[in-house]
């Protein structure tokens, strides 16, 4: 019970802090919409062509959502760690009953809330663009939540190994950009070199993309991908929690 109280206190402070950073709020929700604007309107999905965007809009829902669940937690958690470290907040926290796992859990909860909201906005816009053709499924929820857990854990690791907010942003981009294009989001494996394809299976984002596509486009069972993503979430969160600095 006290653990729950500590996580709630940390999450409440983090949520308030987020809401009071107007530029953070604007870009958190604006970035995915810009992405949808670029890919969905400027490029325009053209099912009749054989180019990169040769599928209907619904097919790319995993890609749009992947961008949200990937970039935002990575940079937000990494930056939070950098800010906490610069303000010696971890040194203070280490003398309270709060553990590093609780800190990460609280900030992950805040990110889950933010990402669910951002995902709802993006899905709403995509529904408008696709004329209601996107199949919305409740199974999107666990995929989004688990992916956020994975990338919050990874963000904590990046926050640990980089020494500043600038470093976190650079490291996040270096990790996220390859992942987003090599995880069956926008680019399918057949367009990648054969020798590279096995590496796709090492990315947690691949299972997110496969599962979401099955739920929203292919209408196939999603549990195998959900299972793998759950395993990734447990492992990466544990690694992330132990990476949260003590001082």
């Amino acid at each position: 019970m006290t653990r729950t109280r500590r996580v709630a206190a940390e999450a409440s402070a983090a949520w308030r802090t987020f809401l009071r950073r107007r530029t953070a709020v604007f870009f958190t929700f604006g970035f995915p919409l810009i992405l949808v604007g670029i890919f969905g309107v400027v490029v325009q999905a053209n099912p009749t062509s054989s180019g990169l965007f040769s599928h209907p809009t619904s097919f790319y829902v995993p890609g749009y959502l992947a961008v949200i669940v990937l970039f935002t937690p990575l940079t937000r958690i990494g930056s939070s760690i950098a800010r906490h470290r610069e303000g010696n907040r971890f040194q203070k926290l280490s003398t309270t009953p709060a553990s590093r796992g609780e800190w990460l859990a609280a900030h992950t909860l805040v990110n889950i809330g933010i990402i669910l909201l951002a995902s709802a906005v993006v899905l709403g816009v995509l529904e408008l663009l696709a004329g209601g053709a996107i199949r919305l499924s409740l199974s999107l929820l666990p995929f989004i939540i688990l992916a956020v857990v994975v990338f919050c854990g990874l963000g904590a690791i990046l926050g640990r190994i980089t020494d500043s907010q600038d470093g976190v942003v650079a490291a996040s981009n270096a990790v996220a950009l390859p992942l987003v294009f090599l995880s069956e989001t926008f680019v399918m494996p057949e367009r990648l070199p054969a020798w590279f394809r096995p590496a796709i299976n090492l990315s947690p984002l691949t299972y997110f993309a496969r599962g979401v596509r099955k739920a929203t486009y292919l209408d196939q069972p999603v549990w195998p991908d959900l299972l793998v993503l759950t395993m990734f979430a447990v492992l990466v969160f544990a690694a992330g929690a132990s990476a949260v600095p003590q001082e």
Partner: protein, 311 residues
Amino acid sequence: MATAIRAEGISKCYEDTVAFDDVSIEVDSGEVFSLVGPNGAGKTTLVRALTGTTAPDSGTISVFGKSPTNVESGRIGLLPQSFTPPERLTARELLGYYRGLYDDPRDVDDVLADVGMHSADETWYTNLSGGQQRRVCVAIALINDPELLFLDEPTTGIDPAGRQSLWSLIDNLAAAGTTVFLTTHYMEEAQALADRVALLDAGTLVEVGPPTALIESYGGGTHLLVETELSPEQLTGLDVAVEPTDDGVRIPDVATADIGRIVQQLDAQGVTYDTLTWTEPSLEDVYLRLTDTVNRNGTPKEPLATGGRSE
């Protein structure tokens, strides 16, 4: 009296840099103990070791009879050096946040009242003055009603008024029985607040003792500084010893009762001077003298008493 902190022969190095070396200190419950030294002397690393956020390479530490990492966190309060809490929360929200991390915390209103922040409790931290910010930080350190409070350079970077108000706050805490472990590089702060001070220089503990005892032993006597263009050899009409300084002469061991007589002798000789300054020795004099001794000889002077403790 019970011992709050006992550190015996602790050392800590970071690669080739010695943070502190063979440091032994003992702090009684209810005492205000100040660790004094310039930036880089090893004060913050020592606080980290005492609070369990870093482990010493050698030696032992006990806080309330336990290893620092095993002490109930509710018994310890810490204000880290250069601590900055989330800046877009109000003082009240910040205390509410840290309150939520403890099992048996104090009431937010009581702590706000203790640090005199009731009137600005709804202002974002970032919009508070430097002195108010430090008061909020101290309040955060007090929210769990600690028996032992670590304040790591709490007044660095704040204006004199803010410093004075924080001194009064620390005085009140000490009067209420809280053990305070204070680090500072302001000698006058340690002299004003501490029951005992430990002088740290380049990671080495130079001396420990009550400020008055240290000043008595190492500070030298009172003296009169005469800012004049004349040299000691030209002041033949004085019946006291005279030493040269950069700006004139220094007359050591001058009691207040002697000042009038010396001034009369100077006037009788027709000595012109810009200023006359009578000075009592301070902890700064002690520190400079002792660290100079350490730097020249490589070993500190003998302590005042066993373990540097006041009796």
